[in-house]
C-alpha cells in the first residue's frame, strides 16, 4: 500500500498517474464560491461564465499558472466523468455506445483523480451538472460525446505552451487519450475519426464560452 502523501503541484512530476491516492479533503462549495468571488471571479448560474479569473495569458509558465490550468482541465474532466457516469447508468445506451461510455467514463474518472491529486488543496470542487437529457437518449449521447471529446482535445492543446514542462508531460499523456476517445466515438457515429491533419488549439476563454453555452454546469 503506497504511503499517503499530501501532494502539491511542485511534486506533481513525481506522480505516476497510475498511483491513485484514496481520500483527500476538499473545499466546501461555499468556500469555493467565496474564493472565486474574492478573486474577482463571476459564476453565473446559467453557466455563461465559469471561473472568471483573469487569464494569465502573458505570464511565463510556473506553479501558479499550472494550478490555474489544471483546475481548468479538472473542470472539463469533472464534466466528462459525470456525463459518462450518468449515461452508463441511465439505461438508454446499448451495444458499442454503452461499452464506450463504460470504458471512457473509467478513463475520465481516472483523469479527475489524477488532477485532484496533482492540485492537492488547490483543486476546485466538483460543480453540479444538468446534462439536459443528453445522457438519456443514445443518439444525443453520441453527438454530445463527440463535442465533449473534441473540445477536450482543443482545450488541452491550447494550454500546452503555458504549462511547465513537468506538467506538460502529464497533460500530453491525457490529451492523446481524449483524442482516441474522440476518434472512437466519431467512428461509432459514422463520422470521420480524424477530420483534419492538424487538431485545433483553443484558448481557455473560447472553451469556457463553449462549455457555458451548453448550460451543463448549473453551479
Amino acid at each position: 500500500m503506497p504511503e499517503q502523501h499530501h501532494l502539491t503541484l511542485e511534486v506533481v512530476e513525481r506522480v505516476d498517474p497510475a498511483d491513485l491516492v484514496d481520500e483527500r479533503s476538499r473545499d466546501t462549495r461555499a468556500a469555493f464560491l467565496k474564493k472565486a468571488v474574492g478573486a474577482g471571479g463571476v459564476i453565473a448560474v446559467s453557466g455563461v461564465v465559469i471561473g472568471g479569473l483573469p487569464a494569465l495569458v502573458t505570464a511565463a509558465p510556473g506553479a501558479a499558472q499550472d494550478a490555474e490550468i489544471l483546475n481548468f482541465a479538472l473542470l472539463l474532466e469533472y464534466l466528462e466523468a459525470e456525463f459518462y457516469t450518468q449515461a452508463e447508468s441511465g439505461g438508454a445506451l446499448d451495444g458499442e455506445a454503452l461499452e464506450f461510455a463504460k470504458t471512457v467514463g473509467a478513463h475520465e474518472r481516472a483523469h479527475v483523480e489524477f488532477l485532484m491529486k496533482a492540485l492537492g488543496d488547490k483543486a476546485n470542487p466538483k460543480p453540479t451538472f444538468d446534462f439536459k437529457g443528453t445522457t438519456e437518449d443514445q443518439e444525443m449521447f453520441i453527438q454530445t460525446a463527440i463535442v465533449l471529446e473534441d473540445t477536450g482535445v482543443a482545450a488541452y492543446n491550447g494550454q500546452g505552451a503555458r504549462l511547465t514542462k513537468e506538467v506538460l508531460a502529464s497533460a500530453a499523456s491525457v490529451v492523446s487519450v481524449e483524442a482516441r476517445h474522440a476518434a472512437w466515438i466519431r467512428d461509432i457515429a459514422g463520422e470521420p475519426p480524424a477530420p483534419k491533419a492538424f487538431d485545433d488549439l483553443k484558448s481557455k476563454e473560447e472553451i469556457e464560452t463553449a462549455v457555458g453555452d451548453t448550460g451543463f454546469i448549473t453551479s
Binding site: R162, V175, A183, L201
Partner: protein, 231 residues
C-alpha cells in the same frame, strides 16, 4: 495569445521557416548522428545542403533536432500509406483509412519541411517488407506505427523550447492519436487501451524503428563551415 491556432497561423509570415533557415548546419547533424541507429550507422548518398551556414536565430538546435526526428517518422508513415494505397491490397474501410491518414501524414511532412527550411533532413529510403502489400500485415503495422508516433510526440513535447514548434507538435500529436484509435477500432482492438498514454524517448523510438528494418538508408549531409557527416 491566439485563440485558435492552426499550423498555417503558426507560420503566418513564414517566420518559422525563416528562423530555422538561420540555424547552423551542425544542428542537423545532431539528429542524424543519433538517427544513425536507424540503419546501423549506414549513411547513403542523399541531399547535399546548398545553404550557407548562418547564425542561429530564435529557433534552437534542440527544436531543429526534434523537428527532424518528427519529420523522419512522418516520412516513414507517409511512404507506408502511399505504398499501401497504391498496392491495391486494401479494400473498404481499410482503404478509406489508408487514403485519409496518408493524406494527413503527407501534409505533416510538408509542414515540417516548411518549418525546417534548409535544415530539414531529406527523405530516407524505405523497404516495408511486404507490409504494404497484404491486409493483415498492413493492419498490424499501421497500428504499431500510429501508437509509436503518439508516444514519440509525447516524449518530445516537454523538450521543445519554442512555443510555435510546440504548438505544431501538439496539433499533430493528437491527430496521430486519432489515427491510432481508428486503426485499432478497424482491427477490433481497444481504441483507447489506457487512461494515460505512455511517452517514449527519442532513442527508444529510434531503436524500435531500427528493429523494423523499414529504413534502409538515411540521407548524408554536408554544409559550409561545419563537419561533414557521411558514412
Amino acid at each position: 495569445m491566439t485563440s485558435r491556432l492552426t499550423l498555417l497561423d503558426v507560420d503566418r509570415d513564414g517566420a518559422i521557416e525563416e528562423t530555422f533557415e538561420r540555424i547552423k548546419e551542425t544542428d542537423r547533424s545532431g539528429f542524424l548522428k543519433r538517427a544513425a541507429i536507424l540503419t546501423g550507422g549506414i549513411m547513403g548518398g542523399g541531399a547535399v545542403l546548398g545553404a550557407l551556414a548562418r547564425p542561429a536565430g530564435a529557433a534552437t538546435a534542440t527544436d531543429v533536432a526534434i523537428a527532424n526526428f518528427a519529420l523522419t517518422l512522418e516520412y516513414l508513415e507517409a511512404e507506408f500509406y502511399t505504398q499501401a494505397e497504391a498496392s491495391g491490397a486494401l479494400t473498404g474501410d481499410l482503404a478509406g483509412f489508408a487514403k485519409v491518414v496518408g493524406e494527413h501524414e503527407r501534409v505533416h511532412v510538408d509542414a515540417l519541411k516548411k518549418m525546417l527550411g534548409s535544415a530539414a533532413v531529406a527523405k530516407p529510403t524505405f523497404d516495408f517488407k511486404g507490409t504494404t502489400e497484404e491486409e493483415g500485415p498492413f493492419r498490424e503495422t499501421a497500428q504499431v506505427l500510429e501508437d509509436t508516433g503518439v508516444a514519440a510526440y509525447a516524449g518530445q513535447a516537454p523538450r521543445v523550447e519554442t512555443d510555435d514548434v510546440l504548438n505544431a507538435a501538439l496539433a499533430i500529436h493528437t491527430v496521430e492519436a486519432r489515427h491510432a484509435a481508428w486503426i485499432r477500432h478497424l482491427n477490433g482492438n481497444p481504441p483507447a487501451p489506457e487512461a494515460f498514454d505512455k511517452a517514449l524517448s527519442m532513442d527508444a523510438v529510434l531503436t524500435a524503428v531500427q528493429g523494423t528494418g523499414f529504413i534502409t538508408s538515411m540521407p548524408a549531409m554536408t554544409g559550409n563551415g561545419s563537419p561533414s557527416f557521411t558514412g
